[in-house]
């Protein structure tokens, strides 16, 4: 059932290579997706109808469709328009879209919770809308949003496993490949599971910790 010592040393480089790709995709998706989420949040809150409509559409589709379908839409669907992407780029675009859609909701809710008390104060000071956003709402809003954003990051890390379906050699693909060549599916997949857990569980504890501290901050 379990991988032997020899198997572990034979598979580990391969699995770690897969994990590294998973982490790269996670990092890049968040790096692009969270600013995109901020843009979408502002777009949804905008007065301009067109801007609002487009933002809402991107958010609803990015959240409403499964990440797996977004991935396949971009990797298998876009080529028919003449745009063929590598699996790595397709993964990042799809997951960044997914990230943007979810985080825009997180950020919007945080901005609105801050705006409730601060908007009048900022207006009383005569700040312009832009300055109000930049100096008052954003710094506080992002702080409120931080725990939820971190929590979502873990989900995106797990979501990279979907890239198996577009032949990106990330962690699940590597484990599956080892399984199919050695017919030692269970130990290989188990090893991948351990690697996921080794990152997700400490990360979950970290998020929990940040959440508690943020809770204390909010109470004060």
């Amino acid at each position: 059932m379990f991988p032997t010592q020899d198997e572990i040393s034979a598979w580990l480089p391969d699995l770690l290579g897969g994990l590294s790709i998973s982490l790269q995709v996670t990092g890049l998706s968040l790096l692009i997706g969270i600013p995109f989420g901020l843009v979408l949040a502002l777009g949804v809150l905008a007065k301009n109808r067109l801007l609002k409509g487009v933002s809402l559409f991107l958010v609803e589709v990015g959240r409403g469709a499964p990440a797996l379908v977004l991935l396949q839409f971009i990797y298998f669907g876009l080529p028919s328009t003449g745009l063929t992407l590598s699996s790595f780029s397709a993964a990042i675009i799809a997951l960044a879209w997914n990230t943007g859609a979810y985080t825009s909701e997180i950020i919007r809710a945080s901005l609105q919770s801050v705006a409730l008390g601060q908007r009048e104060a900022a207006e009383a000071l005569g700040l312009s809308r832009f300055d109000e956003l930049r100096y008052v709402l954003l710094p506080q809003g992002l702080r409120v949003a931080l725990p939820a954003l971190l929590g979502f990051s873990i989900l995106i890390f797990q979501g990279t496993s979907l890239c198996f379906t577009i032949a990106l050699p990330e962690l699940v693909s590597r484990a599956y490949e080892i399984g199919s060549t050695t017919f030692r599916y269970f130990p290989a997949l188990l090893a991948a599971g351990v690697l996921y857990a080794a990152i997700s569980i400490p990360a979950a504890f970290l998020v929990n910790h940040v959440e508690k501290r943020a809770g204390l901050y909010a109470q004060r």
Binding site: G64, L68, F164, G179, Y185, F186
Partner: protein, 214 residues
């Protein structure tokens, strides 16, 4: 793409619904004993349940499905794709529902426990008459949004060959070379599926709220 192409997608839709409903049912039921174990007075049981929940949630659904379908299916006992998916997603749903229940139970004011204890209601009565009905109401919106998330999660079952919506979309796109339209349509179907759940949840919530506030 023609109207006939829609047929497989509709067939896929029914499997998506079946898988979602089955996994959710398993999760909603198993989540209760899992929560009971997690809140147990015996620390080994508590620790075990907590660890199990952590581990289940730490591993991506697709990997769970592979572990069950390829890992167990090839090694221990053969298992059909649908059953493997049902098992894997049911397991994940149980862990998540246990956490949703836990949040709901924690939100109940401690005065409810005290009043129940002072009235000498036994443990079972406190659970059945006082805590469970109130927790159910609190858990309803989170459970509904989890159900929608789970519905989207079932798309991973396509990777082990369950002929649900995403699987049918994949087949159709290979057949017609119209990936763009097909996947857009598949995405739309998922969005459409989530609408009645969201609507039902709002209606149920409103009804329960109105009932208490009558």
């Amino acid at each position: 793409m023609s109207a006939a192409d829609l047929l497989p997608l509709l067939r896929g839709l029914t499997w998506t619904v079946a898988l979602t409903a089955g996994a959710f049912l398993i999760g909603a039921v198993l989540g209760v004993p899992l929560l009971a174990a997690r809140q147990s007075r015996l620390w080994p049981l508590r620790f075990l349940a907590m660890t199990a929940i952590q581990i289940v949630r730490a591993i991506p659904p697709i990997l769970w499905l592979f572990i069950i379908f390829f890992g167990l299916g090839m090694g221990v006992m053969p298992i059909s794709p649908f059953n493997a998916a049902l098992m894997g997603l049911g397991l994940i749903a149980a862990a998540n529902m246990a956490e949703i229940y836990r949040g709901a139970v924690a939100s109940i004011h401690f005065g409810q426990w005290e009043a129940s204890a002072a009235l000498d209601l036994g443990r079972w009565s406190i659970f059945r008459d006082i805590i469970a009905p109130q927790a159910f109401r609190v858990a309803l919106p989170s459970a509904a949004s989890y159900l929608i998330g789970l519905m989207k999660e079932t798309a991973v079952a396509s990777t082990i060959g369950v002929a649900e919506l995403a699987y049918q979309g994949n087949q159709l796109s290979q057949l017609t070379f119209r990936g763009l339209e097909v996947f857009a349509l598949v995405g739309l179907f998922y969005v459409l599926l989530s609408l009645p759940i969201a609507w039902l949840s709002r209606v149920a919530d409103g009804y329960l709220r109105a009932k208490v506030a009558r």
